[in-house]
């Protein structure tokens, strides 16, 4: 039995095709958990939101996608 895993990525279709069980949208291919166009506080908040979405997804059964 493996480890429950959540994938933060931008190329969602690739993840779906391969069968990744929990997929959370990253901000961009170039910066999955960040955004250089935001100021430091805004970026930290964005990162926090994405990570919290990912941790929430970890508690799911593994067949849903969070936006």
């Amino acid at each position: 039995m493996g480890l429950p895993t959540v994938q933060i990525c931008s190329m969602k279709q690739v993840a779906v095709t391969v069968g990744s069980p929990r997929i959370v949208a990253g901000r961009s291919v170039l910066h999955p958990t960040g955004d250089p166009s935001l100021n430091a506080d805004e970026e930290r908040s964005l990162r926090r939101r994405i990570v919290e979405d990912a941790l929430r997804a970890l508690t799911s059964t593994g067949d849903g996608h969070a936006a």
């Binding site: 039995m1 493996g2 480890l3 429950p4 895993t5 959540v6 994938q7 933060i8 990525c9 931008s10 190329m11 993840a15 095709t17 391969v18 069968g19 069980p21 929990r22 990253g26 291919v29 170039l30 910066h31 999955p32 958990t33 960040g34 955004d35 250089p36 970026e43 930290r44 990162r47 926090r48 994405i50 990570v51 919290e52 990912a54 941790l55 929430r56 970890l58 508690t59 059964t61 593994g62 067949d63």
Partner: protein, 398 residues
């Protein structure tokens, strides 16, 4: 054939001449007197001496002990050991298990090159005609040992090799393209059926059955994914157009190229609340220790690295950088938390949102990674995280 002699005597002279010409064209005589000589020539000729087989077992089936003996060194004993005995009786008198090579699972998994090299040294003096490894069922390290030894023996001794394992064995994906692997049930409870299969396969292999190379799946083995060149009467352009016309007309057609299917893995479930979980961060975005001391490639690789974050509250350019040939890494090199969100995970750890953040990040550069390497690295990372007590994984992909 007595009837052909009777037929001869009932023919008119003209028919006899015609029949004679037809039979002569087939290399046959008119009166059937050639029959006895032909029957003699198709009697099968047995081998001049029994085929010498070396059998490979791990420490458990080799009767050295259980997990406590997993560090056992490579060794060899004359004759069959353990399951080698019922295997020998199924193989019969045309085969002889002249020796059994045994090695501890950890010995071969920790340093396969050294273990296999030593096993080859021990095996050579027995001058085997064939190597049989396992069956290893779902035991991953044992399966790996079987696979590695089969590859090395095939290459160094040039003799046929075969092994047997269950489809859940991680070694199947690793070796099926290079080694003939018989499918078995999942555990030693299925040993009897597995040995029946191994003996039957060994006999076919010894007879040089070409179908084992062409269509291993028909012989109960894992498909090898080998390609053979065949000559077609029509070129590819013509065949493609025929296929399209069939498809449009709703007629059945057979594709020549199948799209790879990916194995469906049932998602693992987290055993308790996330606030108590030990969480690890893994990335395929090419995170490395600053200065790239391990010389990690920036793509097309079969390697991964473990970056320590012990004592760090966030990633910064003092100790990490990003090395990946598949995307512009400028933005994540300016702040690597944009790739691996360690700063936020540390906040959550402090606040009790997660139980603990694992002290290392497993990382590779995913650019152009082959499916088999991805599978192998994924299994390896999973195993090492599990051994480290990790309970959940956040994977970031670029």
């Amino acid at each position: 054939m007595a009837s052909s002699r009777g037929l001869f005597f009932s023919l008119t002279p003209k028919s006899r001449i015609r029949m004679g010409h037809r039979l002569a064209a087939m290399g046959r005589s008119l009166d059937g007197s050639d029959r006895d000589a032909r029957m003699e020539s198709i009697k099968p000729v047995g081998p001049l001496r029994p085929l010498r087989v070396v059998h490979y077992l791990n420490q458990f089936f080799g009767q050295l002990g259980g997990e406590d003996a997993a560090g056992a060194p490579p060794q060899i004993k004359a004759g069959p050991v353990g399951p080698g005995r019922p295997l020998a009786s199924r193989l019969g008198g045309d085969f002889e298990i002249v020796a059994t090579a045994i090695c501890g699972d950890n010995t071969v998994a920790d340093d396969p090159e050294a273990a296999i090299s030593r096993l080859l040294e021990l095996i050579r003096p027995y001058s085997p005609d064939m190597l049989i490894a396992g069956p290893s069922f779902t035991a991953g390290r044992y399966g790996q040992g079987c696979g590695e030894l089969c590859v090395a023996v095939s290459r160094e001794l040039g003799i046929p090799v075969l092994t047997a394992m269950n489809e859940e064995n991680s070694a199947v994906a690793q070796f099926r393209d290079r080694v003939l692997i018989l499918r078995t049930g999942p555990s030693a409870a299925h040993m009897t059926a597995a040995l029946d299969g191994v003996a039957a396969l060994a006999k076919r292999l010894a007879s040089g059955d070409q179908r084992l190379i062409d269509r291993p799946a028909d012989a109960g083995c894992f498909p090898r994914g080998l390609k053979r060149t065949v000559v077609h009467s029509h070129n590819g352009a013509r065949r493609t157009v025929d296929m399209i016309l069939d498809k449009i007309a709703g007629r059945p057609f057979k594709t020549e190229v199948s799209v790879p299917t990916f194995e469906r893995v049932a998602p693992a479930h987290i055993g308790g609340p996330i606030r108590e979980a030990i969480v690890a961060l893994v990335t395929d975005g090419g995170l490395i220790a600053k200065g790239n001391p391990e010389r990690m490639p920036n793509g097309f690789t079969d390697r991964m690295t473990e970056v320590s974050i012990a004592g760090h509250d966030r990633l910064d350019g003092d100790f990490v950088e990003v090395h990946h040939g598949g995307y512009d890494t400028q933005i994540v090199n300016a702040d690597a938390n944009r790739l691996a969100p360690i700063d936020v995970l540390r906040d959550l750890e402090r606040e009790g949102g997660i139980g603990k953040l694992h002290e290392t990040i497993f990382s590779t550069a995913g650019l152009g990674m082959s499916l088999s390497n991805a599978r192998r690295l994924g299994l390896e990372i999973g195993r090492r995280l599990k051994d480290g007590g990790v309970q959940a994984v956040v994977l970031t992909s670029t």
